[in-house]
């Protein structure tokens, strides 16, 4: 009887200490970044952490798996999902920037899958943002981005 009580108390104690140190850790972890960037990231990360891809073509659903697995290694998935990047030119740059970080574990084929998912998804889910951004571009850049969107859409839609 006495033993049992001891055991219960120990379990409770260990649990409390673990949780308490976890609580401290959570508070520690938010090191200050440059304030504007941090504010922007916070805004993105507050949004939904996943995308309903059930209506997307199978190829894009597969790419979504690569995207969610690779990109969540270093940051919350809600960051890219709700970010204000939308154009192929932007996604190409950011995906490459991340994949070239040492130890990213993103090879060129998964990098391409992530890029194509983001371009495809943005062309539907962020359509207003894409159109708005396209309208601000020079005719030449606009044509280039539109061609890249079409390339990705054709690749997956016409299957």
């Amino acid at each position: 009887m006495h033993m049992k009580m001891n055991k219960q108390f120990t379990a409770l104690f260990v649990g409390v200490i673990t949780l308490a140190s976890f609580g401290a850790g959570v508070a520690r972890a938010d090191d200050p970044l440059d304030a504007a960037t941090q504010e922007r990231i916070n805004r993105f990360e507050k949004g939904p952490a996943m995308i309903d891809v059930s209506k997307y073509p199978q190829g894009i659903q597969d790419d979504y798996q690569v995207f969610s697995q690779k990109c969540s290694q270093c940051h919350k998935l809600s960051r890219p999902i709700n970010s204000d990047y939308a154009l192929p030119d932007e996604w190409s740059r950011y995906v490459k920037r991340m994949m070239h970080k040492p130890g990213s574990g993103i090879d060129s084929s998964s990098g391409k899958a992530i890029y194509e998912f983001l371009v495809y998804d943005s062309s539907l889910r962020k359509k207003a943002m894409v159109d708005d951004k396209l309208a601000r571009l020079s005719a030449e850049d606009q044509a280039a981005d539109q061609a890249k969107i079409k390339e990705v859409r054709d690749k997956y839609d016409n299957k």
Binding site: M1, L12, G15, V16, L19, A20, S21, F22, G23, A24, G25, V26, A27, R28, A29, D31, P32, L33, D34, C74, S92, R93, Y94, V95, K96, R97, M98, H100, K101, P102, G103, S108, G111, K112, Y115, E116
Partner: protein, 304 residues
């Protein structure tokens, strides 16, 4: 009614409540409160910092914690910069760390002439050096090249007069002189005028010692303990893929003080990207970006 006591029951022992388990909600509530308490303590508790908790025993002691002026203010500022930039490797106590950095306390190099001392943070230090009779052979990045003249002067003053060191204070002008003396190896204005932007950018890359961390021609960085980027300072050969020129210049100007950790509970990685904006001129930054873009291996195409 069965509520009434049975008069025939023997009551030779005291009645007692049997043991009942603690309700789950109490356990959960306790845990949640303790968790919140820990978070609150961490945010507002100041971690038993002397300045918050210690009772002041005298007016002198209280004055110790007040903002200082004049030379004392410079030293306090120097200490703040030192703890932030140098202390990671040399230790906030100036005693150095085995395998990472030699001591500064009692080091003969620290109290030498200002020019040779300033040379170390401004250009980094690679290879063997003997400090207090002990041989060291390590690599230090030009951690001070990104600091302004007054900041670096404050740091140097701090290390020259702390931990028993008996050196003189260093003025911002002395740092300025030391910095321009180092630039003496750089190409002259006439030579620069004949160069292409990429060539000038290469000179900028050399001048500010970027190679000390990112490797010759940005081909691969030095090790950076516990950095999430495979414990390496990143190579720069693919920046053309990931940045526009504007973005790249903005990044170099802003630097990156917080390097994500491989092991979140491990120590802070010793190397970080200094804030170069106040140090490298806009023209130099433009040339530097052109040079970095030129590093991308020819013929590589990721197909997106």
């Amino acid at each position: 009614m069965s509520d009434e006591l049975d008069p025939h029951q023997k009551t030779d022992t005291e009645p007692s409540a049997s043991r009942a388990p603690v309700p789950v909600w109490i356990i959960v509530l306790t845990l949640v409160l303790l968790f919140l308490g820990a978070v609150y303590f961490d945010a507002y508790g100041a971690w038993f910092n002397n300045q918050v908790y210690a009772p002041y025993k005298s007016a002198e002691e209280l004055a110790l914690y007040q903002p200082k002026s004049g030379a004392a203010a410079i030293l306090a500022h120097g200490q703040a910069v030192y703890d932030n930039v140098c202390g990671l490797c040399h230790g906030n106590d100036g005693l150095g760390k085995p395998g990472q950095a030699p001591p500064l306390a009692g080091s003969e190099w620290v109290v030498k002439d200002v020019a040779s001392l300033a040379h170390v943070p401004l250009t980094g230090l690679n290879g063997p050096i003997r400090v207090k009779g002990q041989d060291w052979n390590l690599a230090m990045a030009p951690m001070g090249a990104g600091l302004s003249d007054p900041d670096l002067a404050a740091v140097l003053s701090y290390i020259r007069t702390s931990w028993g060191n008996q050196g003189s204070a260093v003025s911002a002008d002395e740092v300025k002189v030391a910095r321009s003396a180092i630039g003496g190896n750089a190409p002259s204005a006439a030579e620069l005028a004949k160069m292409t932007p990429v060539e000038r950018g290469h000179a900028v890359f050399q001048k500010y010692g970027c190679f000390q961390c990112h490797g010759q021609d940005g081909k691969g960085g030095v090790s950076n303990f516990n950095a999430k980027t495979a414990e390496l300072v990143p190579s720069l050969i693919y920046v053309a893929d990931g940045y526009t020129k504007t973005e790249l210049i903005a990044f170099i100007s802003r630097g990156e003080r917080n390097i994500p950790r491989k092991n979140p509970t491990g120590p802070e990685p010793p190397h970080f990207m200094p804030k170069w904006g106040p140090v490298i001129s806009p023209n130099e930054l433009s040339d530097l970006a052109d040079f970095l873009f030129s590093l991308k291996p020819k013929g590589e195409n990721l197909g997106f």
